[in-house]
Symmetry: C2
Subunit: 305 residues, 2 copies
DNA sequence: GATAATCATGAATTAAATTCATTCAAAACA
DNA sequence: TGTTTTGAATGAATTTAATTCATGATTATC
């Protein structure tokens, strides 16, 4: 018999295009999903996808179920918001402190969606780039902070959002384009172009250059497009989220390369005051961020608590 | 986490008004449902019903979930019909043979609903009251027969629809109104008013009077209202489905009494040719009949295969 | 044509849902 | 006002179902 669990699987399947990635997305094994799908197809006595191709394709019947899934899961989310409001009331305050430039790319759509669902919650962004966003929480100048490490701290809880890969980018005809994988030393004689933020907020600096004692020339720019243009003009190299550069890769302006054998992974957490962790609109904001981001940004991976 | 199972439970709860009856409806024990509901309320951290009263009442949060349930389960049904059509095609023939008068009461709404969902299926009623409706199936003059006993027969399968109680009715000032429970002998000196069908189609005759060798005076009428009027005018007594007489009981025209210690139960099955049992529109017709009937007729109970 | 990568499968395991047996609470009855 | 009956709740035992593990099959990739 059909359950919502199956529909959640279908959504993950579509968003990832493969059984194994979808399994990771819903925190199950590939095997579990394979069994689940087999059971679904047996129940409806017809195939729901063709697994031959990558990404896998839905059959007509599969598409129909997928449409059902989107419809139903939206409605469930809406009903659960209503239940939360019945329990805790409509209103509240949600001031978001952000420490990363690219965060705005996924934050804006999520905030738009949230604003519609919680019109009585005062939503705001704490502007400026602070060295210590968690301090803003404790001094009650913000209610939620987006951070890249979950450093334990009294009175603060960290909730995982998602992870993604940071890739190195250079012009197509730059010598580094030849190397499949870059190491710290490869940056030594390059100019590194980055956002104007403190060093410790740059993943590349914290996790790669600093440990290796490499200290390249530097240049900053506020805007992602400007950084891309500088790189394309051979003014230097940069490290950016894969999902942020993908559109430019497809147009061939620059090429992207892995940094380190395992790739340079960047993680995002929401930090909030422990007392606020039970607030329904807070949890719904986090769900919205995850849901919208996974649905729109390519290459995201889940992050365990 | 919410699953469709929970929503199916909520619908059953509303339709029956009690945990134990709802449990029976969804083929589970009272205990199972009690646990399930407790789990739901823990998940949403708020009460969903007040069990103090009979029938139980939904809280605001419960009502919201109930609305979700109706919406979602409708959509699931619609999607599953589409899947069935994708697999087997749209068209077919469905001629229904009916042997009981009151059947039309629940058959008409179900047929209306079905006609909208399967416009390409030729839906028809085989008119007249036949002594052997199953014969019509084998000679291919009908595709589905409504019968009150599941007599095994080669090439025919019986699918349970539902069961209900047949109650005896008399005028309020009739001596039999004093008796809480009637036995076969109580009919001996009365005039029994019934539909003009062969004796073996009357549940009262088959299950009560014939075994006891009681043979009262008889009088027939085509219409339920006419039977009620005759009874109210002290022209005799009758046995009718509880759900058919309930509106008249509430107006006080007649009173209803149990027949036999356990009550006289009437069962309904759909008989169809084995080869047709896998047809999607056939199964959907049966689901529709059950669903519509349980939702609208009071006092129905489930019938196991 | 070898080598990953992805998916499928059966058995074993784990987790979850359900039942059983009983108690508790409330309503109906005398 | 007890007494009986009915419906719901509870904890432990059980059953059922879902998931993982270990592995084999299949399909992409170089």
């Amino acid at each position: 018999m059909l359950e919502l669990r199956h529909l959640r699987t279908l959504i993950a399947l579509q968003e990832t295009g493969s059984v194994s990635l979808a399994a990771e997305r819903v925190f199950l094994t590939q095997s579990a999903l394979s069994h689940q799908l087999k059971q679904l197809e047996a129940y409806y006595q017809q195939p729901l996808f063709e697994r031959k191709s990558q990404p896998l394709r839905f059959t007509l019947a599969g598409e129909r179920l997928l449409a059902l899934a989107r419809d139903l899961l939206d409605k469930v989310a809406s009903a659960e918001r209503d239940l939360a409001r019945i329990r805790q009331g409509e209103a509240g305050e949600l001031r978001v402190a952000v420490e990363c430039h690219t965060c705005f790319d996924w934050l804006m759509p999520a905030m738009d969606s949230f604003r519609q669902h919680w019109p009585a919650v005062e939503l705001d962004i704490v502007s400026g780039f602070h060295a210590d966003p968690v301090g803003l929480l404790l001094t009650r100048r913000a209610d939620l902070a987006i951070v890249s490490e979950a450093e334990p701290q009294a009175g603060i809880v960290h909730q995982p959002l998602f992870a993604y890969e940071m890739v190195g980018i250079v012009a197509r005809d730059h010598p580094l384009a030849e190397k499949k994988v870059w190491q710290a030393q490869d940056f030594a004689n390059e100019t590194l172009i980055h956002y104007p933020v403190p060093d410790e907020m740059l993943d590349l600096w914290r996790k790669v250059l600093l440990p290796a004692g490499v200290s390249p020339l530097r240049r900053t720019s506020e805007l992602t497009v400007a950084i891309i243009q500088l790189v394309a003009s051979r003014r230097g190299v940069a490290a950016l989220p894969f999902w942020a550069v993908k559109p430019y890769l497809e147009r061939g302006y620059v090429v992207a390369r892995r940094i380190g054998e395992q790739g340079l992974s960047s993680e995002l957490y929401a930090a909030l005051r422990s007392e606020d962790a039970g607030l329904a609109y807070m949890q719904d904001f986090l769900s919205t961020v995850r849901e919208r981001s996974f649905a729109t940004l390519p290459g995201l991976t889940v992050l365990e608590g």
